[in-house]
Amino acid sequence: MFDKNAKPSPRRQQQLDRYKQLVERMSPNSDMGKGLLRAFWVGGTICTLGQALQEIGKAWLGMNNTAASTFCSTVLVFLTALLTGLGVWDKIGQYAGAGAFVPISGFANAMVSPAMEFRREGLVLGLGAKLFTIAGPVLVWGVSASVIVGIIYAIWPW
């Protein structure tokens, strides 16, 4: 195993392949149709709620588009934090999968849940440091990609 170039012997490779097939045959698969449907309706509902918040912001609170959109994300994040704290969000996540984690609410849950979990390890190295364990990569790659786009745009605006 310590020889980087060594390939498994043909017999070993055959054993690995056969076992892989056995595992695939024996392991139950998730129900694709049910999964997609659940993700669709829960995700759709969260987005509709977001739309409603934007409309409310614009129609009743006198907000412009940017403010309304900010209002929408802030409220969704707040609601998710509340539901996560009350122990409800993980059940929604278990039910809806991507329907719960793709909207911004999933991003919020990914920050709130480790903060709660690691609170006992202290305010600084527990809560503070672990807040970003799951959501951190999203910010790292999202922001990095946008900086690259910004640099290109500064040189060749389109």
């Binding site: 969704l76 994040v77 122990g87 991507a98 999933g106 609170r119 990609a145 946008s146």
Partner: protein
């Protein structure tokens, strides 16, 4: 207004269903899919494909994480127009500050108030 709700529901739901398809089909972890979504959002927005979608479906396009990427791109473009080259570094986080600050603040707050529950 009802029509805007239908559009938000349909596009938002569809983006989530694609995510779920990736989870079930590729066994990618949610964290990887989210990174994929935000980077896809940045690129689709930079190539001008996401803007019309957001125009059309409103929250259906901005609430999913691809919308976060779209906001990052919009932010850097606007900042580059306003302050030039350095805008590439300020614009992204400026335009998404509300979501990030809210998640950090409410996350810290929730952790002070609530305790995780056994399942």
């Amino acid at each position: 207004m009802l029509w805007s709700f239908v559009k938000a529901f349909a596009l938002g739901g569809a983006l989530c269903a694609i995510g779920e398809f990736l989870v079930l089909k590729t066994k990618l972890t949610p964290a990887r899919i989210l990174v994929g979504y935000i980077v896809a959002g940045v690129i689709l927005s930079a190539t001008g494909l996401y803007g019309p979608l957001a125009e059309f479906a409103g929250a259906g396009a901005t609430v999913p994480l691809t919308g976060f990427g779209h906001a990052l791109t919009n932010g850097v473009k606007k900042a580059v127009q306003e302050i030039g080259f350095m805008g590439a570094f300020t614009g992204g986080l400026t335009s998404t500050a509300a979501g990030i600050a809210a998640a950090v603040f409410f996350g810290a707050l929730a952790a002070m108030v609530f305790k995780p529950r056994p399942k």
